[in-house]
Structure formats: C-alpha cells, structure tokens
Amino acid sequence: MVTPRLGHDNLGLGVGLRSTHYPYILDNEPDVDWFEIISENYMDSQGRPRYVLEQIVERYPIVMHGVSMSIGSSDPLDFDYLDKLKALAEVVDARWVSDHLCWTGVAGRNTHDLLPVPLDEPTLEHVIERIHIVQDVLQRRLILENPSTYITFAQSTMPEWEFLTRMAEETDCGLLLDVNNVYVSSVNHDFDPVEYVESVPHERIVQCHLAGHTNMGTYCIDTHDGKVIDPVWELYRLTHKRTGGISTLLEWDANIPPFQEVHAEVLKAKQHMSDQLTSTTTSEDASSIVSEKDDAPSHAIPQPVVFVGAEVE
C-alpha cells in the first residue's frame, strides 16, 4: 500500500522562483504557499541569487527542480553534479528534489534541452538502474517529471504513462505530473491525455505542474509563456480528483509578467479544485483546439531557458 503523495505534504499552490521577481518577493512577502527553484541556478551561486534564496528559505517551503540530471542519458552520471545537488537540498531544506524523464546530452555534451528517450525495455532498465544510484547518492526519493516531447521513436514498445508507472514502481520514486506537458505531448503524438492521466499511478504523484504553451498550428511547444488554457485546467481537475490533492505549481519562464499576475494564475486552481469534473479533453478535442488557435510566433523556444543575468550598478 503506497501512501498518497508518497507521504509528502500537499504544499498548496506555488510559483516557480524567477530572478525578475526577487525584489517584489523580498519587499512584499506575498502570500504564496511555496516556491520551486531551478536547482542549477543556485548550486554554484555565491552571489545575489543564492543570497535571495537564503532569505526566501526562511519564509517559504522550497522544492528543487533540476534540468541537467540527464537520468536517461547513456553517458555516465555526473557525481560531482549529484553531490552539489545533495548539498543544496540540505541547505535549503528541500521538501523534495525533482528532474525530468529525459536525457540532455551525450558524449560529454549538454544540449540544455529535455530530450525524449525511446520507451522500450532496455531504456526502462537503464533508467531504473540510474534512479537507484541517484537515490542512493541523494539519500532521498527522486521525483521525475513527464517532459513535453516532439518526436516518438518507432522502437518504443509502450506508452509513456506505462514507462513512468513501471519506472516509479520499480524504484519507489515519485512523479511530478505536468498536465500541460501531457496536453502538449497528446497533441504532438495523437494520444488521449485523459487516458494518460487516468493511467499513471496517482498515489505516486507528489506534485503537479501547470504552464502555458504555444500552439504552432500542427503541433504545440511547451514555452511557459502565458496563461493555462482550459483543456489543461480540465486535466488538472482530473488529476486533483484522482490524487485527492497535490502540491501544484505554475511555471512562467518567458514574457514573464509581474509576480501578482503569475500568482493570480496559479490561484485559479482553487476554483478548479472545488469544481465538479464536468467534461474531459480527448485527442479529438485537442485537434480542434489546434485548428482554432493558430497564433504561433516564429521564435517560440521550448523550455527550459534558465539564465540569470548580472545586476550592475
């Protein structure tokens, strides 16, 4: 019997910490439930980002979310990276540490993208082995997120939700269900997002991500540059119902508005949590949305883009 959320607290409604909001957060101490940080932006910092984080840690629960673990890579794990990750988690008293089911590079390179793995038995075995190693180093369960993906491999033998389920059950790791990514991938790969959400092991979902994306007409890109669209909220309502409530976080990484607007967007989740589930989104629905809304900028860049610029007098 697995405890809901693997025993983790439901932290409520959180916001991804971004440097553009530092002054507002420090000056106003907004009534946000928790913050998620991009781990790599703070692991080596000895300047203002780390200083701001230390102050925020005193007031808010912190969750660490990484983009460079590369759990699915065929390159060796980077133990220097893992040691730094562990050290930061201890310093900020991270409630949990998450990353993505992906690889970011091979042959010593880092593309800084979240690249998809073939969903087959050898890859599953490989990822499971590496999760065990990471969890041994971190001395805690790893939480892994479903990424937005844009290709599928012919050699894949199972749907992503099955891969995630078997991976989580074999390793006892947790899941971060990004319902926007489920939606984006469902449009890109012609699957039913409701079936996906219904099929993942709900008791292992520790956290949920919400975000906006960009509709490119024939596919979607996970750009984190706007509000959450209704079909994604519907998937969120389903997730809430199936899990009984989980820590929920909004990511907004491009064209970032003032903090209050970002916070207001995640607070909409309250209404969705209290609503009855009245409708569902199918792959056909997703298809019609693609054809209705064709506002794609030509420069849309999938997340992650995480760089903190210098502040100079």
Binding site: E40, Q46, R109, H112, Q155, Y219, V312
Partner: protein
Amino acid sequence: MSTGHELNVVQRWMQAVITNPEGIVDGVASEAAQQEIALDPATIESFILPSKRCSSIERLSVYGNAYFARLIECLAGEFPTLEYALGEELFGDFALTYLQDYPSTSYTLGNLANHFVDFLVNSRPQQEEGEEPQWPDFLIDLSRIESIYSVVFDGPGEEKVELISAADLQQIPAEKWGGIRFNFSDSFRLEVFDFPVHEYVTAVRKEESPEVPSPQKTWLAISRRDFIVRRQSLSQLQFNLLKALLEGATLSESIEQSLNELTHEEAAGFDELAANLQDWFANWTAAGWFRSLNCD
C-alpha cells in the same frame, strides 16, 4: 527483447542531427549521424514516427530549431551590450559559430560563455603592429567587461564578512603605513580596456542608444558590494598602485613601483599621489575593496 537501436546509438544520432547548424535534413545526412544510424529523408519514418499532422523531419526540427535558439538567447542574456553593438543578426552569427566550436559540456548555462572572449579574440582579423584599437577591439572589450560582470555578480564576495573600515586605517601609526600589505576582497578585479566600455554598457542598459566611443585607455576597478556589481574608473597612477598592492607589495613598495611605471607625460604623478593618497584609501576602503591588512 528490443529490436531497436541501442540507447547510446540513438542518442549520439539524435544529438548529431538536432545540433547540425544546417538543419535536420543535413543533420540526418551528416557523417556523424550516418555512422550511428544510416537513414535518409525517405527512410527516416522507420525510426522517427510521423504524427497525423507532422512529418518525422518536421518533428525533429522542433528540437533542431530550439537547440541554437535557446543557447543564443542565453548568450544574448549574458552579453546584452555586445548584442546591441553588433546587432541581433551579427551577434547571432558569432554566437552560432561559437556554439559549434565550444558546445556546452556543463550542467549549468552559467558556464556556457566560458570561452566566448577567447573565441572573439581568436576570430579577430590580423592586426598591424602599433595599430590603433579598432572596431573588433571594441567588441572584444565589450565581451570582456560583460563576462567579468557575470563572474563578479555570481562569484565569491564579502557581503557576509566584516571588511576593514576607514576607522581601522586611521588607527595605524604614520610610521607603519609604508609597511602595510592589503588583502583584497575576493570580488575585486583590476582591468584595462582600450575603450571606455563601462560607460557604453551603462548607457545601453539605460536604453540611451550610445554611439561607439573613440579609443581611450580605460583603467577600471570592478567589485561587488551588497550583491550588485560596481565599477570605478581609475587614473593610471591609481591603477598601478592598486596593481602592485594586489600583487602583494607593501604600500611603500607599491608607491615606488607605480611612480616608476608612469610615462614622461605623467611625471606629475608624485604630486597627484602626495595630495590624494589619504582620500584614495578612504574611498577605496569605503568601497569595500580591502578585506584585511597586515603591517610589516
């Protein structure tokens, strides 16, 4: 039992394809990709599935388009003034070549630009001996100062350490001044530029649309206080004095050395130094440049 390619082969193939600057079709045809998995546009669907609305090539292009765009955006974030001076397109061309020569090997984008200044220096057209600094030197100076700003901004600093104060200096007996050695703050940097790039950077950040300045030897102290990067222009004499101190010389040794390094035209330096030395140290101490001092 899988009938697919091994994971490392799949990943080396995909990385070769999506990081090819000429695009996905050329990436698939490239030697690096072909030696992993021999595919062509006609057979690629046997490996990368199409969707209802997109071909396999179109789907791979999402990753291919994003790879350079994402990293160029990050470089532009670190070098906003250089991008302004070059223009978005030319900056993008330099960044694209740089990323091919120096692909990221780090878990953090904070290290992406580690070789960028050297790359620009090595890209500079050959210079005649004794030639005045030119446009390429201005660009190199800009890249240097923005790189230094980034390093100082997120590197070690003294915000949590008690630094020496003007009062500490005043307590030192006059006869001991000559033997003082200063330990500088970790963030403190002394830099020389061929152009007043610090003023240009500030003007661009204030959106003042500055003109490219004429060459002018510029001596700067760059440091961090209260987590903000600060820069202060120096006279050559001040620079020489601080440089000698930074290298570990005593104050009297540093004064002698810095005066000796002045050119004939600047020989009035002794008077300048004698009149201002006390004020200089008061200001430099207030700026937080000195962590501690020792007296011989």
